[in-house]
Symmetry: C2
Amino acid sequence: MKATVLHAPGDVRLDEVPDPTIAKPTDAVVRVTAACVCGSDLWPYRGINDVSEPSRIGHEFVGVVEEVGSEVRSLRPGDFVIAPFMYSDNTCPHCRVGIQSRCDHGGFWGGPDPDGVLADGGQGEYVRVPLADGTLVSTREAPDDSMVPSLLTLSDVMGTGWHAAVAARVAEGDTVVVVGDGAVGLCGVLAAARMGAERIIAMSRHQPRQAVARGFGATDVVEVRGDEAVAAVLELTGGVGADAVLECVGTKESMLTAISAARPGATVGYVGAPHGVEYPVRDMFVRNVGVAGGMAPARQYLPDLRDDVLAGVIDPGRVFDLELPLAEVAEAYAAMDERRAIKSLLRP
Amino acid sequence: MKATVLHAPGDVRLDEVPDPTIAKPTDAVVRVTAACVCGSDLWPYRGINDVSEPSRIGHEFVGVVEEVGSEVRSLRPGDFVIAPFMYSDNTCPHCRVGIQSRCDHGGFWGGPDPDGVLADGGQGEYVRVPLADGTLVSTREAPDDSMVPSLLTLSDVMGTGWHAAVAARVAEGDTVVVVGDGAVGLCGVLAAARMGAERIIAMSRHQPRQAVARGFGATDVVEVRGDEAVAAVLELTGGVGADAVLECVGTKESMLTAISAARPGATVGYVGAPHGVEYPVRDMFVRNVGVAGGMAPARQYLPDLRDDVLAGVIDPGRVFDLELPLAEVAEAYAAMDERRAIKSLLRP
C-alpha cells in the first residue's frame, strides 16, 4: 500500500510500504477514506522535533473496517469508523475515568505498539488498528460524504478543542477567551458556543481564521497580543476578566496571556503541547487562577461529538480549507507550513 | 488597648495602642474574645518575610460587636462574629463569584485599608472592621465556649483546608492525598472526610499531628517524603494514584509530590503560599493533572462551615493544642516556631 513517510525535515513522501494485516486478535484493519495533516505534524516536518530516521506519520483518519481479529466484538467489516489520535483499550483505570490519552496499553499511530508491532500512521491507504474495540468509534452506515470532514475533525482537533473547553469548565452564559486561531483554537470556539457561552472572544490576527471563528460563534475578535490582548479582554469585560480561557497554542507567551485574561477563580483549559511554558506561580495563587487540561482524551468525547455532527448541531469540518489527493501529501504539508492553509484534508 | 506588634524577627510584644473607633459608616468595632497564631505569621517572625518597621499582626479572630457605623445593616452590638482572614465587601464581581480574597475593595488585617486608615490586627483586644456587613459572619447569640476554638478556625485554617478540597474537586468515594500536616493540612483532611472521601492518605512524620489527622478521618498515614511518598501512594492505590490531592505546604518539593501522587485527570488543590514552586509542565500535560486554588476565600465558606460547627458535624478546633492569655503572645509564637505546638489560641 501507499503511506506517508517523513524522511527528514521538509521531506515528506508517499512511499510503498507493506500492507497491514491482523497481528493480534484484538486488531482491525481499516481502509482509510479521509485523513489530514495536524499542526503537531509540522513540528518534525519543521525539524523542531527530532527526525533521526524515516518514520510513518499521521494520526487523524476515518475509514471503513476491512477485517477484524477474532476477539473484536463491537465492529464488523464494512463499518464506517473514526479513529482518535491515540489508540486505547477503553477499559483500564485511566480510560474508565475518561483519560484514554493515558491508557495503560495505549499508544501513538505510526510507531510500534507495546508488543513492538507497527501501528500504521494515519496518512496512508490502510491502518492496522490495535485494540480496535477500545479505539474505534463507528457510525455503522457510511455517512453522507458532506459529513466526512466534520467526522474527521473528531480524531483530534475538535476533540482537543472540546477538551480545552471542558477543562476550562465553560458554562452556559460565560464569557470565554480562546487563545490560538489554529484548527484547535477554532474548534475551541465551536465547543464554547455549543456549551452555551454567551460571549466568545477569539484572539486572531488572520482574516480567514477570524471568519471561521465568527462562523463558529465568536462574538469578538482581539487582534493584538500579549499585554495588549489582556488589556483588550479587561476592557471587554468591565475590568473583570474572562470566566473561562482556552489556551490552544502552547507557548510561554500564549499561556501568560491566557492566565492574565482569566478572572479570579477561573480556570485556563490548555491543550497546546507546552513549548517553553513557565507558569506565573505567584499571580495564579493570588488570583486563584487554575490550569487544567493536557493531551486530550479524544476517545472520551467521540461518541457524543459524532452524534452532534450527524445531527447537524456542529460542523467543525469548516476548519478544512484545502483538500488534496493523498498523492499530493507533500503539498498538503507545505501549504500548512507556509500558512496558506488552516488545515489540509487528504483523500486516499 | 493592648495589641500584638511584631517589632523585628523573633520580637513580638503586646503593646499599648490607640483604641479603634468607627472611622467610616460601614465599619464595626469588635471586642476580640479569641484569636490565634497562623503558620503564615511565622514568616515575618522568622525573618523570611521582610520586617522593616514595627507592625500589627494577626488575622484570625472571633468576638462581640461593640459598635457599628450608620450604614451597617446586618449586625448589631452584642452579636458574636467570626472574621475571615481578609475583609471584603461581598458585593463586587469577584466576591459575587465567591473569590472574596480578591475583593475590589478588600484588604488585610494589621495594615492600612484602601483609604489609609488602619484595620487593626487580629491579635489584640479590639479590631476596627472595615466593610463590616461584607466581612463578618455572625452567630447572633454567643456560642457555647466549647465551640469557640472550632469557630475560630473558620477565620482561616478550616476555610483554607476546605478551599483546598473544593479546588481539588474532592467527591464522595474518592481516594484523597493531603500533603502537609500543619493546621491547614489537618483541616484539609477534615474537609475531605466531610465531603465523603472514602480513603484519606495523610502525609505526616509527627505523631501528635498523625493522631489529629486520624481523628479527622485519615485512613492512612505516609511518613516518608518526595519520591518515596509518591511510591507509597501508588502502592496504596494499585498503581493508579489519588483521585484528588490537597497541597497545603507551598514548597517546590511538596508541590512536586502532590502532582506526582495525582492520578491522570486529577486536580491538585493548593493553598500553601508558594515559595520557590516550579510546576512540572510536561508531566502535567502528559498526565492531564491540573492545579487549582490559591489564597482561600474563607468568607465564601464561613456560613456553611459555621452551621456545620454549631451542629457538631465538624470540630476543627482540635488543631489547637496550646491556649494562652493574650499577654503571653510571645510564648504562643515561640511554641509554634519551635514546633512545640501545632497552633496556639490566645484569649484577650
